[in-house]
Symmetry: C2
Subunit: 430 residues, 2 copies
Amino acid sequence: MTGATQDMPGAVETALRIAEGRSTALKELDACLERIDATEDDIGAWVALDRAGARDMAAALDARGTSGLLHGIPMAVKDIFAVKGMPWRCGSPIWKDRVATFDAGSVALARAAGAVLVGKTETTEFASYNPARTRNPHNPARTPGGSSSGSAAAVAAGMVPLAFGTQTSGSIIRPASYCGVVGFKPSFDLIEPGGVAPLARSLDTIGLFARSVADVALGVTALTGIDLAPEPATDRAEYPLDVSAAWDDAEPALRTAWAAFTDSLAPAGRQQNFPTELTAALRGAADLHGRIMDGESAEALAFEHATAPDLLSDKLRAHLEAGRALSGAERAADWAAMRRLRAMMDATLAPDAVWLTPAATGPAPAIESGTGSPAFNRIWTLLGLPCCTVPILRAEDGMPMGVQVVGAMGNDRGVLQMAHDLMARYGAAG
Amino acid sequence: MTGATQDMPGAVETALRIAEGRSTALKELDACLERIDATEDDIGAWVALDRAGARDMAAALDARGTSGLLHGIPMAVKDIFAVKGMPWRCGSPIWKDRVATFDAGSVALARAAGAVLVGKTETTEFASYNPARTRNPHNPARTPGGSSSGSAAAVAAGMVPLAFGTQTSGSIIRPASYCGVVGFKPSFDLIEPGGVAPLARSLDTIGLFARSVADVALGVTALTGIDLAPEPATDRAEYPLDVSAAWDDAEPALRTAWAAFTDSLAPAGRQQNFPTELTAALRGAADLHGRIMDGESAEALAFEHATAPDLLSDKLRAHLEAGRALSGAERAADWAAMRRLRAMMDATLAPDAVWLTPAATGPAPAIESGTGSPAFNRIWTLLGLPCCTVPILRAEDGMPMGVQVVGAMGNDRGVLQMAHDLMARYGAAG
């Protein structure tokens, strides 16, 4: 890791310091900017920094006294969100000169809650496949994952305590796992999606990165009004496990760490009791996710595809063309299948259900290889379920891996509580 | 009605004329522009016309020969959709100077299919409550309905054969009913929503206006790849009826016309057999819709609310503030209730279910009164179900009213077929 993050306060701690008069929004921001100056050359997390604007914002907050829940918390925004006056490039040369004229709804809500918007972070091309230039703060030869590459890396490197990301396949949980931070993808549509460049309407979900569960909870509470602050951590009698989503894809480093993790749970606490009828029903769900994503992204990016096809990466263009090649009958059948699976989950799972599963197939792969596999993520994204990863596993070479908590639709609170309890029991690998 | 529309070809007819060499895209566009010149002063349907751009587009299509399904069809776009190079004002002074730098996905798809984009049509403020200046083509003292006021009126007056609209409450079906045209709100998210200013993410649905069912079907087929062209019309043995959504709100003119309509169905064809358990479950659904719309619109319009509250209408601001006043617990419970209702409909209704219900509580009210009541629309919007209205009823004073066909989720084809059959049996009141 490029320097230690232990000295950088998290979101809750930042808010507390300011509220108690031990710090100011401007001081907290300046500490982040200093940290950015020290680490950005190695990491490449940022598309654009708005130093002057952020300092003005922080000074205004200090002058005003307290505002909302995010008062004075420096925040990074993935570059597919519109932020007024900042670039809005979406990781694509098509939009290299675009500057947003308004805030995305979620960004406006963060701003209204007192967040200090530091800048825009690197994203893969339209939050899809083509990697950003960002490097993993734990090892510059590794990918930070994607698509929310810059947000995950910025939080991991201590540049900011809180960052916006989005997930359409595995774009929050996977980079959080690779970078050793907490990533939270709430229930589908819990956070306002307007003003964020779309990729696949049934799947795109806004979420957050931070270095603790309490920090992501604070962020989502501020954005939704739903109180998600975890209760004090407790040890649990039961830790329901399910690895069926993608166990065949699990790499040796994950298998080793996962075995040690599950061995460390009291035998009574280990449950492989994810309903088997669901496991059976979810066979094929990853392919279903892929077809829906291809079909919907071909429509979401119809303007770019029509006007600047040569400025799309070959890989994205191939996916858009695969989407266009799907027949209307296939697409209608796929949407119906997605609705049936979502309804089946709702009907079968207890409303407070949570279970644990790996966040990614292994530690961050080499940066040349792309942004890694979303195999442990895409099914839950398809189902719209809340997911939170906590950085409590390590590969033998020291690279972090996440344990992902998944829950029933709408059980964001339960997912965060379990994640918080795990962090308390196992500490952070970050 | 300001002049007759009988001489203006519909979308299917326009495409056919051009394909058969009997006309050109430019001739068809010029006929529309002429019609606009003759009627726009009385109606006020347009925010902006792009005469030169549209003529260039039409000439380019003529030079190229055939393109897609909408080749050469002049089309209007509600002014909450982004259309590159055209104003994007959303019916609000906040955005009076904004010009879009990209096309909404749906607009790009229409353009790629050969549609000629004539201009932007009037919308109520952010597709919500505050009326546009548009008048009803059948009687300038009446509202055209809203929020898709300009699109409905433009199609009714023969200015264009096809127009984009959106519905969050009753914003397609109601204006179509008031203006005597066909309005189609497909299943939720069937048409790509990206690049359209959001109002309420769980509800906003893109749809179309035209003067025949075949015309809206052609439009949606072009935008989705799903073949929705109706089969030749047949008379039916059964016409399932349900008025329970809002019968208490039905006005005398509707009650009289509805009674005559249902009397005209063979007794065996009249069925009041909408599942009673659904009717019971849907009590309270209108209030649920209202709360979800208030809560979500407060988030979607967070930027406007924060930066220019004085430029919002009092009514919209009051709704946004009502949305902000909802507790997180209420909002989470409401989303869960919406999901349960949607799942219950899916589980209870046959996949090919359709039923008939009024499109609005009566004919278009006086323009001073607002844009009319969405009472017969909001429940179906909440449930995401496909709805199509056909202009086959008339009040005694000659004003049109629609019969709305609603269907099970994903049964867009069945809804359009029933609507087509009704149009064939009862003809158009438009």
